[in-house]
Symmetry: none
Subunit: 377 residues, 2 copies
DNA sequence: GAAAGTCTTGAATCTTGGG
DNA sequence: GCCCAAGATTCAAGACTTT
């Protein structure tokens, strides 16, 4: 699954690389990173020239395109780094790009043009935004992140259950309410001034990484700044590659990452999705004697019934099939999850088959641990 | 100020015109409307059918008007109608365009290309969005509106005080929390089925018109549908021009507008919304670092214990769940308020989690007030 | 008649692994 | 690559029905 693992090549893991974004990405192998988080510059207010948030001038006036307006220069800059990001991303990888109304629409359009497949646009609602000083517009209280897969067919990672758990057991929505980066979290220089103008809050990256990566995955940040992405990757036991051109930021980010203590291994385990737990064929439960052949099953409301056959199929009248097929057939549904549909009786209570699956998995876990102890002892 | 007044020409005021969007706009004089609200097709590109977990079928948008061959075709369509809209708009006028991630980035980029000047992007947060049934993405819980002036130099209208009053006397933010159009407000045909697949809520247009127009201003809607914009314009004593090509929708919109009673002249003022109370998921406290992953919790009498996971669940042995579920499970109670049940240690004292929730809310309140003071001072 | 329970529905790019 | 079967998956409102 992990891009780094599948490559078998040298990746500069857990490092902040100093250099230009596009040029440095060119040194990385194709399909080598599992996830990218990018916070590109969007200083578009200046007329005739394009500057990064650190006030450095983007070299946008080339012979070829000095006739372009600055919007077009920004588009070229965007297309260049996104093209390289697309190449470096694993075929099942995803990318997050954050921006404001100044640049996010251009980024979104170019993402689509390059074949990225949009999964969500996420709104970061700021709990403490800067008010609109002159009262001429609505308070600009949010920024937008676009979450894309490398292609429409990518089998991307989304830790659905972890996100649901994080939100009091209801689906996580596309609007996230999080505070700005302030207080002690904000890196400052010796004069007490903020080191970076757009340092992102750790809570934002915490959620991004927890949602879309697994422990050990490689996370790339091509505009690392003061290293929020690497720091959170390290905390959550992911690998990281940071790219940053400004030496002051590189130094600050390296410092910061070194100070970051990874969480204990058992503390980074978020709620796993059911899709990740090993499959248990229903027939194996019969073999193990967790449920006997001949036992009668029914749905929760006891409207339909069936009997367990020794090969793990269900029989009802002349009909026979898997727990899923039979559930679908008897309810005229297009499909059915037999594990939650069918129930059996235990101590006068109706329990879903899923209970047996859990018990089977727990049993397997137990014997595995016992085997390990025996081996050690 | 008003485009209509300054023209001294005949405008088809307070009418729903039947016709194609671009062609019909061509019949309107340049610079003749004060405000445009546009809800163009989203280019959803839906594939097969989608079913809810209970196997019921979702009634998706499959209308012909939302079918485009590719992104280029959609871009051309967009550029065409936006060009005409730009011509028709008064030099000091503003326009609102609503969309989702499928189309809004292309629209935003083209708006900038055509010289429109972005004032805000506004997020309509839906109080009751459709969930993501397959658990493969975040709930798509919002749509985006881009608010633009005709040009950078437009002296546009923004009713700042009205918006502030509407929001309990604090600046209106760029994220609006409003319900979908349902119930009696939703227009239905003789079979009780929704007349239009994407009817917008009146509350949304109410706020848009109140924010950006004066009494008597001319509001144009080039994709009128069932006439929400004309109806709200009439209610708020603005003039309107609607354009719609489907005769059924034209008939419904005309009917609707006729039934709409304009507010009394002295009543065309802000009506306050109900205030939302912020809910704090336990997971967000972990993200914000108010409590760390790996921290040990216990009940007041220290009979049961559990550890905090990075997604805000608690773990105890092989058991895992929300703070509420785990409290209930470990005490064999039917339910449990995790906020008051679980305690953590601070300075040798056992404090309930609720303390952290209070601190989180107070923190958000504080930073908000500081920001406002800065703005005023 | 009130309260509690059931049903319906909304701009949706909505699965995955093995043969 | 395709095909097929296993199997994972929903929240808030409002209308409607039953107790």
């Amino acid at each position: 699954m992990s891009g780094a693992q599948s490559m078998g090549m040298e990746l500069p893991l857990d490092q902040i690389l100093r250099g230009e974004c596009v040029e440095t990405m060119r040194g990385l192998p194709s399909g080598s990173v599992d996830c990218i988080f990018a916070d590109p510059p969007y200083n578009l207010q200046l007329r005739g020239e394009l500057r990064r948030p650190d006030d450095s001038l983007v070299d946008g006036v080339d012979d070829d395109w000095d006739k372009f307006t600055d919007l077009q220069a920004y588009d070229k800059f965007t297309r260049d780094w996104l093209t390289e990001a697309h190449r470096v991303l694993h075929k099942d990888g995803t990318m997050w790009v954050i921006g404001s109304y100044h640049n996010i629409f251009r980024i979104g359009a170019i993402l689509q043009d390059l074949g990225f497949w949009i999964l969500n646009d996420i709104v970061w609602r700021k709990s403490n935004p800067m008010p609109n000083f002159r009262g001429r517009r609505f308070t600009n209280a949010h920024e937008t992140m676009i979450w894309v897969a490398k292609s429409e067919t990518s089998r991307y990672r989304f830790n659905y259950q972890a996100m649901k758990a994080l939100n009091d057991d209801v689906q996580m929505r596309s609007d996230w309410y999080l505070p700005l980066c302030t207080g002690n979290e904000r890196l400052r220089n010796e004069h007490g001034l903020k080191l970076h103008p757009t340092q992102k809050p750790e809570s934002l990256l915490h959620r991004v990484i927890l949602a879309s990566t697994a422990v050990g995955d490689v996370v790339l940040d091509p505009f690392t700044g003061t290293g929020t992405t690497p720091a959170m990757a390290r905390r959550l036991r992911r690998r990281f590659i940071g790219i940053e051109r400004h030496p002051d930021y590189v130094a600050a980010a390296r410092d910061r990452v070194e100070r970051e203590v990874p969480l204990a291994e058992d503390a980074v385990q978020a709620t796993p999705d059911k899709r990740e737990t090993p499959r248990v064929p229903f027939g194996s439960l019969v073999e193990q004697g967790l449920i006997g052949a001949g036992v009668a099953l029914c749905d929760k409301k006891q409207r339909v019934q069936a009997t367990v056959a020794p090969d793990g199929t269900l029989v009802s009248g002349t009909k026979r099939g898997s727990i899923h097929k039979m559930g679908a057939m008897l309810t005229n549904a297009p499909s059915c999850n037999g594990w939650t549909f069918w129930h059996f009786e235990r101590n006068g209570e109706l329990l879903p088959l899923d209970v047996l699956r859990q018990e089977s998995l727990a049993l397997a876990q137990q014997t595995m641990e016992m085997a390990l102890q025996t081996a050690v002892g």
